[in-house]
């Protein structure tokens, strides 16, 4: 028993040490700026999933700007880096956009396993807490037991769920959900869709059909089309965001699973390229762990 405690302590320390070295601590001690320092920064950015292209751009900027501002030490360079990252991400600061129609419809999409159903559940809890009446539409009729998973969430947060059988037409589920919400005067419908790889064209078309169904009730809806990205995924997230945006006009991003050691640095190239607002980040399993996106805090966590 004693041994295991020591082991764990050691492991914990190791982790801290590693995190420090990865988190640019070298900058804190650097008295002068040289090539190896930039390499260190490059390494840290790549390690955080920022990606080659964006990293190269940022490094170029740092090199030029540090000369211009006559930056002398690592601390200043780190500050400059933070500034730059916050500047990039600030364009994507986003809030949930509700219009106040009865109902407002929020459509969730993403690839398999990105955390859509869980995000729907957490957001439902958040909205319930604000006193809104929420309906969950179980439009993932494909994955085994997806409907049951959403049902558990509906129970947990006290929301009404509209569902059909497994294998049913998702658009029909959505129609029923919005229709009944309209009849009962509910505030918000959250639509959980099946996970789909963005490379499957017919599934992307199905999304468009769901959207059209929603628009039959109101041309202003869905008021949000949220793409759920898995924070542990690397450069493929850029591709996902691109393709989903093209297919359905994504209005916002929710990035999940940032409670591990993944940093979600891929948001930087996504932000740079696509300018899609980031609405929430998921940092844990509890209902409270769905938080609004704050660029400053995010960069702080990214750089450690």
């Amino acid at each position: 028993m004693f041994k295991s405690v020591v082991d764990r302590l050691k492991k914990g320390l190791n982790k801290t040490k590693k995190q420090l070295s990865e988190s640019l601590s070298v900058l804190n001690f650097a008295r002068s700026i040289d090539e190896s320092l930039f390499e260190e920064v490059e390494f840290a950015l790549l390690k955080a999933d920022v990606g080659v292209e964006a990293t190269e751009e940022i490094i170029d900027f740092l090199k030029k700007e540090s000369k211009k501002r006559k930056i002398k030490d690592g601390e200043q360079l780190k500050q400059l880096l933070k500034e730059k990252l916050v500047e990039i991400l600030s364009c994507c600061r986003g809030q949930l956009n509700l219009i106040g129609e009865k109902p407002d419809v929020i459509l969730f999409l993403g690839i398999n396993g990105s955390g859509k159903t869980t995000t729907v559940g957490k957001l439902a809890a958040l909205l319930k807490r604000e006193g809104k009446s929420v309906v969950l539409a179980a439009a993932d009729t494909f994955r085994a037991a997806a409907i049951e998973q959403l049902e558990v969430w509906a129970d947990r947060v006290g929301a009404r769920i509209v569902k059909h059988q497994a294998g049913a037409d998702p658009a029909a589920v959505v129609y029923d959900a919005v229709n009944s919400a309209k009849a009962r005067g509910d505030d918000i419908v959250l639509v959980d869709t099946a996970g789909r790889l963005h490379t499957k064209e017919h599934l992307m078309k199905e999304l468009q059909k769901i959207k059209k169904t929603i628009q039959k009730f109101s041309p202003n809806q869905p008021c949000e089309t949220l793409l759920v990205l898995d924070g542990t995924i690397g450069q493929n997230s850029i591709k996902q965001a691109e393709v989903f945006k093209q297919a359905t006009d994504v209005t916002g991003i929710v990035i999940t699973k940032l409670d591990g050691t993944a940093k979600g640095g891929v948001l930087i190239p996504i932000c740079q390229k696509l300018k899609i607002p980031i609405k929430f980040i998921g940092v844990g399993e509890d209902i409270e762990d769905l938080q609004p996106f704050d660029p400053e805090n995010f960069v702080e966590a990214l750089l450690g």
Partner: protein, 442 residues
């Protein structure tokens, strides 16, 4: 997956084609591109750094291999290095006393439960008796998902949805399963973060209770830089015996395959390649290495074709083709066989020389539906003897299939040309794959 890697490596070969020898400058130039490609593929930075260092040492000063040009020499050496990292293909362990227990572990959302179903289906298709069991007390409806999958492939599913303690549940399902006379038991576990002490402890305890013969780490092929840290933590805690890569059917680059081999030395055993339960195959390092370098994946293609094509039918078809008796009915059957292979883009990507060019090609499989509809609207006689199809018959066929007379004409013309070509093939004595059919509308 590895499409992007393939693309980048092709450009390297192109660049180096004209080089006379592998001096440091040439090599540096080439390796810059390779480094980028590997990083974009989410290969771990440290692994990339090491790979570049190793390969540079091997490349600089190297004589151009006799019979190859400089570019090809580079590729050959990189291929060797990749093989070196990916290691040998390794089969599943088999317990002396059945059942062999395979425990699946990993993060949330990587596809453990789906993989449990796929692996069960794979083993069942090899003639083994298989069962699945769930120890997931956390994710809502996880057990239900596993049992639904098990039902579709008709294997027993051991769960207890009322038991909320993972360890007690494990004991229950294992006891049930052990008495079921299975050769393999696949144990699904709850997804958990590698830094969640409590849950990782639970996993260790489950392992100690079960004594699994294999502990397979289910890894999403799209995972980013942290993937390797996560896998490492799992390995340190429970001792992985292998990895299953999932979601390889997207455009994920799967850099994690390289990282895992290099850092953990744990073999990759299977890959999940699609949404269907049968989209699951053993991992072959050589095929992957070949694919990375744009050499195509002919082996996978052949196996896929063998699995999808009814051999008797194919033989009969070949005879008819050889005798130039190829009727419209035969054409329809052939289209069905091609369809069984799965999305055509995937099939074409496996063919050497096409893979890297096909990036933006979209195969319109709707055309197939159209052709089938047209042929379905013909009488058996018309299918046998297309020459009797006159104007009024064409009108009827077009109406029956919801197409236009132009579509019907196009199909008839294509069929005629195919027949002509088959006659020629008969003369030259060569049989060709259906992919070489001329003027098919895709």
């Amino acid at each position: 997956m590895f499409d992007l890697l393939t693309e980048k490596f092709s450009s390297v070969v192109e660049k180096l084609k004209r080089a006379k020898k592998l001096d440091e400058k040439t090599v540096d130039e080439a390796l810059k591109d390779i480094r980028r490609a590997l990083l974009e593929a989410d290969v771990n930075v440290e692994v990339v750094q090491q790979f570049i260092l190793d390969i540079k040492q091997k490349l600089v000063g190297q004589e151009v291999i006799k019979g190859l040009n400089a570019g090809e020499t580079v590729i050959k050496l990189i291929y060797d290095e990749l093989l070196n990292i990916l290691g040998e293909a390794e089969p599943l362990t088999k317990a002396e006393k059945p059942p062999t227990i395979i425990m699946l572990v990993g993060l949330q959302g990587t596809g453990k439960t789906t993989t449990a179903g796929k692996l069960a289906n794979y083993l069942k298709s090899k003639g083994f008796t298989v069962g699945v069991a769930s120890t997931d007390v956390r994710r809502p409806a996880a057990a239900k998902q596993l049992c639904t999958l098990a039902q579709t492939i008709d294997v027993p599913c051991f769960v207890d949805e009322n038991e909320k303690d993972a360890l007690k549940l494990t004991e229950k399902v294992i006891n049930q399963a052990k008495n079921a006379g299975l050769s393999y038991l696949i144990l699904d576990t709850a997804g958990r973060l590698h830094i969640d002490e409590e849950l990782m402890d639970e996993l260790v305890k489950i392992k100690e209770k079960v004594h699994p013969h294999e502990i397979l780490y289910v890894a999403d092929s799209m995972q980013g830089q942290e993937a390797i840290e996560t896998a490492k933590e799992y390995h340190d805690r429970v001792g992985l015996t292998g990895v299953i890569l999932t979601k390889v059917d997207g455009d994920a680059k799967g850099g994690i395959a390289l990282s895992v081999r290099k850092v953990l030395g744990v073999p990759i055993k299977f890959v999940g390649v699609g949404e269907k339960i049968s989209d699951f195959e053993p991992f072959y390092p050589d095929r992957l290495a070949q694919r990375i370098l744009g050499l195509g994946d002919i082996q996978s293609l052949i196996e896929k074709m063998e699995a999808a094509i009814d051999e008797d039918k194919a033989k009969k078809m070949a005879e008819r083709v050889m005798n130039a008796e190829f009727t419209l009915e035969d054409l329809k059957e052939q289209l069905q066989m091609i369809k069984n292979l799965g999305p055509l883009e995937n099939v074409l990507k496996m063919i050497p020389g096409i893979g890297s060019k096909i990036k933006d090609l979209k195969v319109d499989e709707k055309q197939f539906v159209k052709i089938e509809a047209i042929i379905n609207s013909m009488t058996p006689e018309e299918r046998e003897k297309p020459h009797i199809i006159n104007g009024s018959r064409k009108k009827r066929i077009a109406r029956g299939s919801g197409t236009t007379i132009m579509d019907v004409n196009k199909l008839l013309k294509q069929h005629k040309e195919m027949k002509k070509m088959m006659k020629k093939m008969k003369k030259s004595g060569k049989m060709k794959l259906p992919f070489n059919m001329p003027n098919l509308p895709f």
